[in-house]
Symmetry: C2
Subunit: 443 residues, 2 copies
C-alpha cells in the first residue's frame, strides 16, 4: 500500500502582459499563470495538475489547492486512483468546503487541479496518455467517475452507458487513425485585439499556409475596428477557411445580436462568449437571432449543471470545454457525454499556458470512444509557452498529433516553474529589478 | 483627503459542529465562520465586512479578501465611498482577477466583503444605519451603485429609476413605521435535522409563543423522517402558522417534485433550494409541478445574472438574497430591484454568524424605498451567535427591530474575533487541547 506524502503547490506566472499576447475585449493585460500542484507518494510516484489563471489572484487559487490538498495527504493512493469517482466526490462535496462554491469558481477549479493530478498519476502508472487510458477503460468504470448529481434530468448513468456502448463500435480503428493523423485544430494566434492590422493579415495568411481550417478573431472592443479587421481577415484567408469571432462576454444580449449581425456579411462561423456564460437564457435569445452564425461558449462555464441547461435551452451550437475550469477529468467526461446526448460538437477551449496540452486529450477520447466523429470538431490552438512542458503539443498541418507519453501532458519543467515562480523566481526578479512591468502587478 | 492605510483580515470560526446547530441534509457539520475584514484609514475611520462560511476553507476566503484588499490600500477613501459603484466595479471587473469567477464563488464573495466594509465606513461617517442611508439616498445615487452588466435585458437604469421613484411615495411614513414596529421574521431554530422530535416540538411551540408567523424545517435526509417531523411540527404550530421546508439543494429535479408532493398534505408554504441553485430550468420544472407550494432559493445564487434568469424563467416565487454571497450591498440592491420589477417578494436568507445582522438592512430598505409592502415578506431568524456583534439583532414578537447604530451592523467584538481566530485563538486552543473536536477540522 502506498500513501500520499505531500501535496506541493507553486504560484507560476509568465509575464505575457508585456507583449499583449492574449489581449481581448475583457482580458486586456493577462499574465498567463498556473496554480501548479504536484501530488507525491511514498512509492516515488507523482501526479501533476494546475489551474490556469490570468495573473493576479493566482495566489488565491494556489492557496485553495493547498487547502483542499490537506484532504488527500496521508490517504491511500491505490484506493484514490482505483475509484476516481469517489476521490472527486470527497473533494467536491466536502461538507464544509462545499459552501465556497458550490461547484464554481476558485474552490471548484482547485478541486479540478487535484483530481487531474490524480489522473496524471494513474495514467503514468498505467503507462498511457490520458486519452488512451480513457478510451480503453471499461465503459462501467468511465460511468463510475461521473458525478450525476443535478444532471439526471438530462443524462442518467444508463444514458451514459448507452452512449459509451455505442461509441465502442469501431473504437480500435479510430484510435489507430488518431495515432496516425491526429485531430483538427484551429488557431487564435492571428486574432488578438492588441495586434496591428499588418500582423493580423500576416498571421492569418500564415495560418492558412500552416493548414488550419479555421482562425478566430477577438471582437467587441469597437464595431468599426471589428468590421475592418474581419474584412482584412476574410480577404487574407479566402472564403473556404472558417473565421470565428470571440467577444469574451463583452455584451448585453441585444447588443450581441446587433453587433454580430453587423459582422454577418463576413460570414463568421461562430460567435463565442457573446455574453455572460452564466446567462443561459441570454445565449438562447442570441442564438435564435443570429442564426446561421453559431453560438459557442464554455471556457468560463462553471460546471456540468450550467452546460446541461445550455443544451436543454438550445442555447449553444458548440460546447467549449476547458480543462481547468471544472472539477477535472471526471466533470469533463460528464460534459462530453452531455454534448453527445444532445448531439452538439465539442470544440475545446485552449491557449493560456498548458491548456492546449491538457485539453487535447478530451477531443481524442471523444473521437475514439464517444462521438466517433470529427465533423465540425476542432481543438483551439495558440502557439504560446509550450516549451515549458515535458510533452509540448505537436501541431502539424493544422492538426494536433496524438500525445504519446504516459500522463495528462500537464507536467511543466521544474526549471520553468522555479524561474517563473511569483514573485521571487529569477525571471520575475529580473523583470521587477528592471522595472519593466507596470503597476498592475500584485507584487 | 484621507487614505486607506490597511486592509486587515481574520479567519474567525465558531465550533458549532459540536452541537449540530445548523445541520441539514447537505451541511452536516458546519463550524459557522467568518472571513473577516477591517478597512482602516489615516483619518481614524474603519469599515467592517465579512464572508460567512461553514468552516474549512474559511482560510481560502480570508486569503482572497487579503489579495483583493491590495487593490484598495493607499486609495483615497473619500473618492471610494463617494462613488461606490465605481469602487465595486474596480474590484469585480479587475482585468486579471475576473478570470477567477467571473462573478462567482470565493473571489466574488471576497469582493462583497470589501464592498460591504466600504459601505460600513460610509454609513458610519453619515451616522446612519445602512438601511436608512440607502432609504434616504437620492434615487440617482442608488442607481449609480448598481452594475447593470448582463442584466439589461431584464432591468435597465431607467427601469431602476422608475421603481425607486414609485417607491419614494409614502417613504417617510414607512420609515417611521419600521422604526416603531420593525419587520416580520420567521425562525429556522426548531427545524435542524440534528434535533430530536421532542426538541422539534418544543421549539416549534416556543416559536408560536414568541410571535413568529412561520417556522422552517430542514428536509431531504429521509422521507419517512420528514413526514413524521412535518406532522409533528404542524400539530405543534396549528394551521394558522406557516411551515416552510428547506432541502439545501439535496435533490434531482424529479426527486424534488416527488418528495414535495409527499409532504403536500402538511401544507408547506415554500420549498427552499429543492435542487442546485445553478439549475434555473430545474427550478422552473419543479415550480410547475409542486404549485401551490412555492419555490424559494437564493442563499447560494452566485450573482444578479442567475437571479435575473430565475425570474425570467418563472422559476421562483420567493427570492432569498444573502448578504455575503454576492458582491456586497451594490449587487443586493440590484437583486431587490430585479425582484421588484418581476413583483416577487424578497425573504432574505440569514443564520450562520452575522448574516441576520447584515441582511436585515435590505428588507428594511426594500419596504421603505422599493416594494413598499410587507406582504409575504419575512427575514429568516436563527438565534445563534448574536452576542458577538456590537449591535446584535433585536427580534421581538416575531419581528426584527430596526437597527439604530451607524453602519451595517456587521461589526464583531474584537474580543470575540481574537478568541475564535483559527487555529490559534484561545477558544480553539482550549478545544483542541481538550481534543473535543473530531477529525473533520482543518487543523
Amino acid at each position: 500500500m502506498s500513501k500520499i506524502t505531500s501535496v506541493r503547490t507553486q504560484d507560476v506566472r509568465f509575464p505575457t502582459s508585456l507583449e499583449l499576447d492574449g489581449s481581448d475585449a475583457v482580458n486586456v493585460d493577462p499574465d498567463y499563470s498556473s496554480a501548479y500542484v504536484v501530488i507525491s507518494t511514498d512509492s516515488g510516484e507523482s501526479g501533476h495538475g494546475f489551474v490556469f489563471t490570468c495573473g493576479r489572484g493566482n495566489e488565491i487559487v494556489t492557496a485553495a489547492i493547498r487547502s483542499y490538498g490537506q484532504l488527500l495527504v496521508g490517504r491511500n493512493i491505490d484506493e484514490l486512483i482505483g475509484d476516481l469517482g469517489e476521490a472527486s466526490r470527497r473533494l467536491v462535496h466536502d461538507s464544509q468546503l462545499r459552501w465556497l462554491g458550490p461547484e464554481k469558481g476558485v474552490s471548484h477549479m482547485a478541486c479540478g487541479a487535484l483530481v487531474n493530478a490524480l489522473w496524471d498519476l494513474r495514467a503514468k502508472r498505467e503507462k498511457k496518455p490520458l486519452w488512451l487510458l480513457l478510451s480503453e477503460m471499461p465503459a462501467e468504470e468511465v460511468v463510475s467517475v461521473i458525478d450525476f448529481t443535478h444532471i439526471q434530468n438530462a443524462l442518467t448513468p444508463s444514458d451514459a452507458l448507452d452512449l459509451l456502448s455505442r461509441g465502442a463500435s469501431g473504437k480500435e480503428a479510430r484510435i489507430a487513425q488518431l495515432q496516425l493523423e491526429g485531430f483538427p485544430a484551429y488557431t487564435t494566434t492571428p486574432g488578438w485585439l492588441g495586434y496591428s492590422d499588418e500582423k493580423l493579415v500576416r498571421l492569418s495568411r500564415q495560418a492558412v499556409a500552416d493548414g488550419f481550417g479555421m482562425i478566430k478573431l477577438k471582437v467587441g472592443g469597437d464595431l468599426a475596428d471589428d468590421r475592418r479587421r474581419m474584412r482584412l481577415a476574410r480577404e487574407a484567408v479566402g472564403s473556404q477557411v472558417k473565421i470565428s469571432i470571440d467577444a469574451n462576454q463583452r455584451w448585453e444580449a441585444q447588443e450581441a445580436i446587433d453587433w454580430v449581425n453587423e459582422l454577418a456579411e463576413f460570414d463568421p462561423w461562430w460567435i463565442e462568449e457573446p455574453t455572460s456564460t452564466d446567462d443561459i437564457l441570454g445565449h438562447a435569445q442570441i442564438r435564435r437571432a443570429v442564426a446561421p452564425v453559431k453560438v459557442a461558449t464554455g471556457e468560463a462555464v462553471a460546471n456540468r449543471i450550467v452546460f446541461k441547461q445550455l443544451l436543454q435551452a438550445e442555447a449553444i451550437d458548440v460546447m467549449q470545454i476547458d480543462s481547468t475550469r471544472v472539477a477535472g477529468v471526471n466533470e469533463n467526461v460528464a460534459n462530453l457525454l452531455l454534448a453527445a446526448k444532445f448531439e452538439i460538437p465539442v470544440c475545446p477551449h485552449a491557449g493560456g499556458v498548458g491548456l492546449c496540452e491538457l485539453v487535447q486529450h478530451f477531443s481524442f477520447f471523444d473521437y475514439a470512444a464517444v462521438s466517433g466523429t470529427m465533423d465540425n470538431r476542432m481543438i483551439e490552438f495558440v502557439d504560446h509557452l509550450h516549451e515549458h512542458f515535458t510533452e509540448p503539443v505537436r501541431v502539424k498541418n493544422g492538426r494536433y498529433q496524438a500525445p504519446r507519453l504516459p500522463g495528462t501532458s500537464a507536467q511543466m519543467h521544474s526549471a520553468s516553474r522555479d524561474r517563473w515562480e511569483f514573485p521571487a523566481g529569477a525571471g520575475w526578479l529580473e523583470i521587477t529589478q528592471g522595472a519593466a512591468v507596470g503597476s498592475g502587478h500584485n507584487s
